[in-house]
Amino acid sequence: MSLFAFLGTLEIGLIYGLVALGVFLTFRILDFPDLTVDGSFPMGGAVAATAIIAGVNPWLATILAMACGALCGLVTAFLAVRCGILHLLASILTMIAAFSVNIRIMGRPNIALLGEATIFTPFEQGIFDQLHVHLAIVFLLVLFSALFIIRLLTSDFGLGLRATGVNDRMVAAQGGNIGFFTYFGLALSNGFVGFAGALFAQSNSFADVTSGVGTIVVGLAAVILGQTLLTGNRIWIAVVAVIVGSILYRLAVAFALSSGMFGMQASDLNLVTAALVAIALIAPKMKGKIRFGSLRGPSTT
């Protein structure tokens, strides 16, 4: 892999790291499998691109995109908490509705941002080239987001959020409002996903209504991959792990893209990516088995 491709992979891995953070919040912390992200990711891109074309400041456009992502999360939470629809179905409903809404927002299926001022533009002048600048800014934004999540989850409020996912009856018995925590968690999660969509559109100069396809799969793969490889009970380890997981997933895709030499053809991409991720998930367990299994026999834990 060339350096150019590697840096590009790192950048997109970091952007999807924000998606992974969102999926971590719902799937791991709230125990709410949330498919809304397939709709809130392209919505982030759609809102940011439309706003930038309309002349809105790119940072303001990005915040607007986060807000619209959060709104998607609120809709899912409303359907689940207030209307009592099963969480998976509630999130699917929001996801499919978002597809139509996104086309309405953009007015067409694809908006190009080439040549428009984005949050990256002011930093692109000078000695650094575009790729390094994008990577540095995305890294900083992801770092701040990660620090924010760690700070939030280690606070008293975060304790309530975490407890909602583990034992909601206990939270209710302690006088906590489960409904509120669900609303808040889903809004925050999809806000991050919308943020990722906005960054993706601005970094790659286009927003496309199909860019949401499979976002949840990538997010889940990142969370599970990261947490399998980087284990620990501390919150900060888990947060770092999901971002690392997202980068590893993108590296797997990059390796799958350069696997032509093994007789693979272009259409095998998804299969190769899935196989690489599966190997990464199985490897630590195999290692454990070889080390302990051969000495102690079948593990009891």
């Binding site: 892999m1 060339s2 350096l3 150019f4 491709a5 590697f6 840096l7 590009g8 992979t9 997109i12 999807y16 067409r108 694809n110 190009a112 941002l113 080439l114 040549g115 993706f200 970094s203 790659n204 100069s205 286009f206 496309d208 199909t210 860019s211 396809v213 499979g214 990538v218 993108r250 895709v253 990059a254 893209l257 350069s258 032509g260 272009a266 259409s267 991409l269 998804n270």
Partner: protein, 322 residues
């Protein structure tokens, strides 16, 4: 015996090495990124490969043809773009809009040819169709409207007035009508428009203009497409022919249409890649619209309207409905 074997092996390896070196010295690298695999886009890619072969760029001899598909996912398209740009090919080819955009966002230096993109200016791939700036040019697959005007002239001798029914709410139709007007004005033809916002309005719209025109053009427009039978019905009563923007309209009773299949689009894309490989500057390779060579004629419709189709058209026809 053993010595002989080793000796032979040495020469074989030496020859292979020489062969590899001499091939490598003149090998061109073309990297193709495609958004998703479906028949039209696959045919475009195959047309490109075959077109390059016809021009003397053959895979495995002097052409390295790298190809990846994003399997419908724009995020993967971005990764493919980064991967390709890192490999520094001679030409990058983006099939369909998002893949072309991902390539354009990834490099300002390597030449990029886009294809199967309907609106390259709207997609911000190029600013200037006639004289592209920067490193991007290519081929649009917008319907060949100016060729349709030629067709109407050929079909109706002494043509002066073209009628058109379309939905002003459809972006594709609006851009087709703009092309129609500019092509018609170059030939001093008058265009009379009738608009229909719903397919139920098409019949009434056609009636309004039918008596004032010599031929009615049905553009590629979803509203018109769903009411094409109504449009053809009105025109049959008024004894004027319908020329279709899409070849599919011929089946429903349009007298003629001209179009392309995506294999042809690929062949035309190969012209762009060849020009760049031969060192032509991008700014000298204007963006063009795919040319059609599939001529569809409806003989039955022509007969009932009393129109005699010129022999030159009959010879070129690729598809006749009797």
């Amino acid at each position: 015996m053993k010595g002989f074997k080793v000796g032979t092996l040495f020469w074989v390896i030496a020859l292979l090495f020489l062969g590899a070196v001499s091939t490598y010295a003149q090998t061109y690298k073309v990297a193709v990124s495609q958004i998703v695999e479906h028949p039209a886009l696959d045919a475009t890619r195959q047309g490109l490969l075959d077109g390059l072969k016809a021009k003397g760029f053959e895979e495995g001899i002097n052409l390295e043809f790298i190809y990846q598909t994003a399997q419908g996912n724009p995020a993967i398209a971005v990764q493919i773009a980064k991967q390709f740009v890192g490999e520094k090919p001679d030409v990058l080819v983006g099939i369909a809009t998002p893949t072309a955009q991902a390539l354009v966002a990834s490099t300002r230096t390597i030449p990029i040819v886009f294809t199967a993109v309907t609106d390259p200016v709207g997609a911000k791939l190029v600013k200037n169709i006639e004289r592209p700036e920067g490193n991007v040019t290519g081929l649009s697959d917008l319907a060949p409207v100016s060729q349709h005007v030629d067709l109407m002239q050929e079909l109706v001798s002494d043509l002066k007035v073209i009628g058109v029914v379309y939905n002003p709410g459809e972006a594709n139709a609006v851009s087709a009508i703009e092309l129609l007007k500019s092509a018609a004005s170059k030939k001093n033809l008058q265009v009379i428009e009738a608009t229909a916002l719903k397919s139920s309005d098409v019949q009434a719209a056609a009636r309004i203009i039918a008596s004032k025109v010599q031929v009615i053009y049905a553009p590629v427009d979803n509203t018109i497409a769903s009411a094409i039978d109504a449009l053809v019905g009105v025109c049959n009563q008024a004894k004027i022919p319908v020329v279709g923007g899409s070849t599919s309209f011929v089946e429903s009773g349009a007298v003629a249409s001209l179009g392309f299949d995506y294999y042809q689009v690929g062949l035309q894309t190969a012209d762009y890649v060849e020009a760049i490989l031969n060192g032509k500057a991008i700014s000298e390779i204007p963006v063009s619209f795919a040319k059609g060579s599939d001529l569809f004629l409806n003989l039955k419709a022509a007969e009932s309207l009393g129109i005699i189709i010129p022999a030159s058209m009959l010879e070129r026809a690729t598809n006749l409905k009797k």
